[in-house]
């Protein structure tokens, strides 16, 4: 059985060699279709992989609570100081109220101006605890990062980020030097004890989480922030004064296990809504949810790409059908001879189906080979744009600039199977036409 199958395929191959150009063009049609499937899926996977990595950096077992400034209409009274957001009480309630909680990391953040000598830098001033560095994958490049003891001792010490260090101290070692941090119209002096390694900024994910640049930060102990700067921060901007009263800017809650994320976030939302009512002054971001959404998006994207690629395979199939119809007409006499020698209709169908399968199979194999060229091709195109068309390069979003296609194994298998399937489907009609020919007519055919 197998031997016969192989023999049939071999003979098919031999007949196809009679018209190399014609067979080659039909193969090319399928090749393009298969390559399109593999490339498009690989590019799609590459893009969504980036998105997923960003979400995973947030930590899948995390729940991120943020203070959100309510829209102007809902702010109470005529006071120019707006009070909103998460409170230290919220923090305590969450710690007590969520049974599966592993830790909760509070953080307070404002924008501020920092000076060192004559140099000045606009920074994000962050009051945090030791765990902050851990959950944001920040590590020390020089000196040390903040510890639990620093929080207890409430000292005026700071850890600065890489870019901040560069703009304040150039290439000097910032350790042991002092910086002046201005807030609420007063200036405090802090001792620099460490510098963090530079970290890739995280991109924004949809509308639920904005991007974050970790390289322009200054970190001080949360307790120091509270005693030196306080909850109420007033900033003066050309003539008008603006103030806000916020206890905590963000609380990052970590639970023990992925399965506990949903329950914990429900509890937190109920808990917070009880005290915040409908003010809408906080947001809850669940990276796991984002991950699920991204996964959904990726699937929809893949379906779309496969549909597009499927169309090109369909066109390839039509090409195959076209040449098979020509082949059948051309070999009418051979069909007649074979029938006279005892070939049944099934034999004739098999013979021509085998030929289309060889065509589409070859196209499929060649397409898979070309599919593997996706990465070098992508690299080449990006390289050409980067070096020869720098203007276009700069206008590309980082997602494209850093795009690494990921060839999905399933796409290779699917593309190959579909191509052979296309061969069968589009070969069936010409083969049937050959089989149903009247043998006598076929023998007389000139």
């Amino acid at each position: 059985m197998f031997q016969r199958f192989v023999r049939t395929l071999l003979y098919s191959f031999k007949s196809l060699l009679l018209h190399k150009l014609r067979a080659g063009l039909a193969v090319l049609g399928i090749l393009i279709g298969v390559t399109a499937v593999i490339w498009l899926v690989a590019l799609g996977e590459g893009v969504s992989y980036q998105a997923q990595q960003q979400i995973k950096e947030l930590g899948a077992t995390n729940i991120i609570l943020k203070s959100v400034k309510p829209s102007a209409s809902s702010s109470s009274g005529r006071s120019f100081i707006v009070e909103y957001g998460l409170t230290r009480e919220d923090y305590d309630r969450i710690l007590e109220g969520v049974p599966t909680i592993e830790r909760a990391v509070p953080m307070r953040e404002i924008t501020s101006t920092v000076r060192a000598g004559t140099r000045e830098a606009d920074v994000n001033l962050i009051g945090c605890t030791a765990a902050w560095f851990d959950i944001n994958s920040l590590s020390g490049a020089r000196g040390r990062i903040l510890t639990d003891r620093d929080i207890e001792e409430r000292q005026n010490i700071a850890v600065i980020a890489a870019e901040t260090a560069e703009s304040l101290f150039g290439y000097e070692d910032p350790l042991g030097k002092t910086i002046e941090i201005a807030a609420n119209n007063r200036v405090d002096v802090y001792l620099v004890v460490g510098q963090t390694k530079s970290r890739m900024p995280s991109a924004s994910i949809g509308s639920s989480l904005e991007g974050r640049d970790y390289n322009q930060d200054v970190y001080i102990p949360l307790s120091t922030f509270r005693s030196r700067i306080g909850d109420q921060v007033v900033t003066s901007r050309t003539g008008s004064m603006e103030g806000e009263l916020v206890e905590l800017s963000q609380i990052t809650v970590t639970v023990g296990d992925l399965s506990q994320v949903d329950d914990a976030s429900d509890i937190i939302e109920i808990l917070l809504e009880k005290y915040h009512g409908s003010k809408g002054d906080f947001s809850v971001t669940i990276p796991m949810e984002l991950l699920k959404q991204a996964e959904m998006l990726r699937m929809m994207f893949n379906v779309l790409l496969v549909v597009i690629a499927g169309i090109s395979l369909f066109v390839g199939g039509i090409g195959i059908m076209n040449i098979m119809l020509a082949t059948v007409t051309e070999r009418t006499r051979e069909i007649g001879v074979r029938r006279a020698m005892g070939a049944s209709q099934t034999d004739i169908i098999e013979q021509f189906l085998a030929e289309t399968m060889v065509l589409s199979g070859l196209g499929g194999i060649a397409g898979v080979v070309c599919g593997f060229l996706c990465r070098p091709a992508n690299f080449g195109v990006l390289w050409v744009i980067e070096n020869w068309l720098p203007e276009i390069w700069r206008s590309l979003p980082p997602t494209i600039q850093q795009l690494q296609p990921i060839i999905a194994p399933w796409s290779i298998i699917a593309a190959f199977c579909i191509s052979v399937g296309v061969g069968v489907v589009f070969g069936l009609y010409p083969a049937r036409r050959a089989a149903l020919m009247d043998p006598i007519e076929a023998l007389r055919h000139e």
Partner: protein
């Protein structure tokens, strides 16, 4: 002697639009095993149609055709194909070799349609080579049809017709495209095959070829006009 084939009141009509072409209008004949029959007649007399029906390539509109005990009208395409493969060897006027195949591949082609489609064995190939030797083409196994003369091509076709050891050989103007000396060679081969016990039914319009057969059937307007032993 056992009958190789028997036809009884055979009719064959073709429908061309509104027109009915009556190619056979009630033909009755018997073909004993080991017979060598020449069917003669002018073109349009129905002799080719008769041969096609005898070969199982065409089914009669009405009437009975029994070949080796099987009534053709009751057979499926598959069964009829098997009968063509096992019992009948075809020889055509225009040889009908497959141009992309070599001599050897052409000869062994019917083997791939044997019942149950067994794989080709070493013995099969040896047998095909042996047949090629018998028709005098042992040194041309790798040639393609276009590299052979007409007579040589017809001899390949004869070897191909013999490969499954058929009881009946049907030849449709086997010498029609050949000169007289080559024709004589082909007729000699057919005579030899007949002497080995095979039934040969040959359509021809050349009296000197028909004369070589044991028996002649003359056809006219879809009917048998005469039947006899030539020269008689």
């Amino acid at each position: 002697m056992e009958l190789a084939g028997q036809i009884d009141d055979l009719h064959k009509y073709y429908y061309l639009g509104n027109q009915v072409v009556k190619a056979l209008r009630g033909v009755t004949a018997e073909f004993p095993g080991g017979d060598f029959v020449a069917i003669m007649g002018s073109s349009g007399s129905g002799k080719s149609t008769l041969l096609n029906v005898l070969g199982g390539l065409d089914r009669p509109t009405s009437g009975r055709y029994v070949i080796a005990g099987n009534d053709v009208s009751t057979l499926t395409d598959h069964e009829l194909s098997a009968i063509r493969n096992k019992l009948i060897g075809f020889i055509f006027q225009s040889y009908n070799l497959i141009s992309q195949f070599t001599v050897l591949e052409n000869i062994r082609m019917p083997l791939s349609y044997r019942p149950d489609r067994p794989p080709m064995t070493r013995e099969d190939i040896d047998w095909c080579t042996e047949l090629a030797l018998q028709v005098g083409l042992g040194d041309r196994l790798d040639h393609r049809p276009h590299q052979l003369s007409g007579g040589q091509q017809q001899r390949v076709a004869i070897a191909r017709a013999l490969v499954n050891g058929p009881a009946i050989i049907l030849a449709d103007e086997p010498t029609g495209n050949l000169d007289s000396s080559t024709s004589a060679e082909i007729i000699e081969i057919l005579n030899r095959l007949n002497a080995e016990g095979r039934t040969i039914i040959m359509v021809t319009h050349e009296p000197e070829i028909a004369r070589e057969a044991k028996r002649q059937i003359y056809m006219k307007d879809g009917l048998i006009a005469g039947d006899g032993i030539f020269p008689g």
